[in-house]
Symmetry: C2
Subunit: 228 residues, 2 copies
DNA sequence: TCCATAGTAAACCGATCTGTATACTCACTC
DNA sequence: GAGTGAGTATACAGATCGGTTTACTATGGA
């Protein structure tokens, strides 16, 4: 363990990752706690794509590695060479979803210019995100229902995303009404989560838009403007 | 199918159900769409108890019938004689939870006397219910994450409970503010669902109480009183 | 030419999955 | 005392689970 000139090898690896579509990493980089552990070879990418689709549609426990490998068009050998265990695929799946969501959300926040509109922009982003890729509700909530053990490496990804969202709402709330930022942030979080759940279960149509209406009501109510 | 004097047999069955703690069934009876299909013998009761506990703690797909039978102290033969299939145990599990919740909620609603306090009583009941038996969040939401097929017989139980809750909130909202009952009922539903999710995932402490605060704000805001 | 990387193909492991079968016991009742 | 309902004990079926192994191929630098 003394004679590894990693400097040389790193250069090679970096050059090979020309097709890696990293999203800059401006506001991201908190995908799951650490850097990606697996080298995303073409086969690994197809595995992750297939696993993500199957996990979300049928549930994590209901999908076996044989099916994932078959859908990805790779053998189980390749799958285990890349990921080592199904558990790791689950972690990558959730971290990937989280990363994508934050990248999707970012331009919505950047476009909005007032604190109020930035808060509402989160709901707009969620609605658009849900309509295009969340027919069965939030991936994190669904995964949490299946992963009971807090020691599971995916658990941190799940709770991490929710904590991040709460911090985001609280930060945005602070800009709008500093005096009640904590409380307002939490209420926004509840409306948002409720919207996601109600949307995923089809309780009533337009659940996320309705959550946005609820948020508007909250913001109109005692907005603590510049003291007039 | 002609010679069954059910009048005689019914009496016997009813006498045997002395230990059955049916809660009158005033507002209930919508447990899952139909009457219980399985005869709840002592063995069956133990199966349902064990399955309920295991399903909730570890997830439905993660628990096998062998484990359920072992935990219940019955053989798989008994289990299959009573329930026929694991699927049916899942249905009974969810219908049972739903029934218990409605029975738990009823006295909270009866004690409250104003429309406003009746709405808040739902959140009070949920907080108490969650603290005593929902460390991992709402059973229905968790089950929905695992059961993707709408044709699954448990699906109707899941969505049925949420629809019932929405109807309850809407009814209560109608007594408080008839003009905006639909919208208010939906927002209350979102806050409530959000509270359940946030509580189950431990996003921040006292999530259901905070949802109640959000509801209070909603009710204070434009309460549409008797026109003054 | 050599060699590491990434992959295919296919068999195999022990364990577990849902579900069924046979054979028997016990308690209660008509 | 025969019959019935509820249960035990145990073995087994066929499939699938996560995971491993051996043998081989294609590719693209150094």
């Amino acid at each position: 363990m003394s004679e590894n000139e990693d400097g040389n090898e790193k250069e090679k690896e970096k050059e090979k990752e020309k097709e890696n579509e990293n999203v800059g990493g401006s506001a991201g980089e908190a995908g799951g706690g650490g850097p990606r552990r697996v080298s995303m070879t073409p086969g690994a990418r197809r595995v992750l794509e297939a696993a993500g689709r199957l996990f979300y549609e049928r549930g994590i426990h209901a999908v076996g590695v044989d099916l994932i490998a078959a859908e990805a068009g790779v053998t189980k050998k390749t799958l285990y060479d890349r990921f080592g265990a199904k558990e790791q695929i689950v972690v990558e799946y959730l971290a990937d979803r989280d990363e994508r969501w934050r990248a999707f959300l970012a331009p919505y926040l950047e476009r909005a210019r007032t604190p109020r509109s930035r808060i509402l922009a989160v709901f707009d982003a969620s609605r658009d995100w849900a309509e295009r890729s969340l027919p069965r509700g939030c991936s994190m909530i669904n995964a949490h229902a299946e992963i009971s053990d807090p020691a599971h490496p995916a658990y941190a990804v799940i709770t991490g995303q929710k904590v991040w969202m709460l911090a985001l709402f609280t930060d945005l709330a602070r800009s709008h009404a500093p005096r009640r930022a904590t409380s307002l942030g939490r209420t926004l979080m509840l409306l948002h989560e409720g919207g996601l759940v109600a949307y995923g279960m089809g309780v009533f149509p337009g659940a996320i838009d309705h959550a946005r209406q609820g948020a508007e009501l909250l913001l109109r109510d005692a907005p603590h403007p510049p003291t007039t």
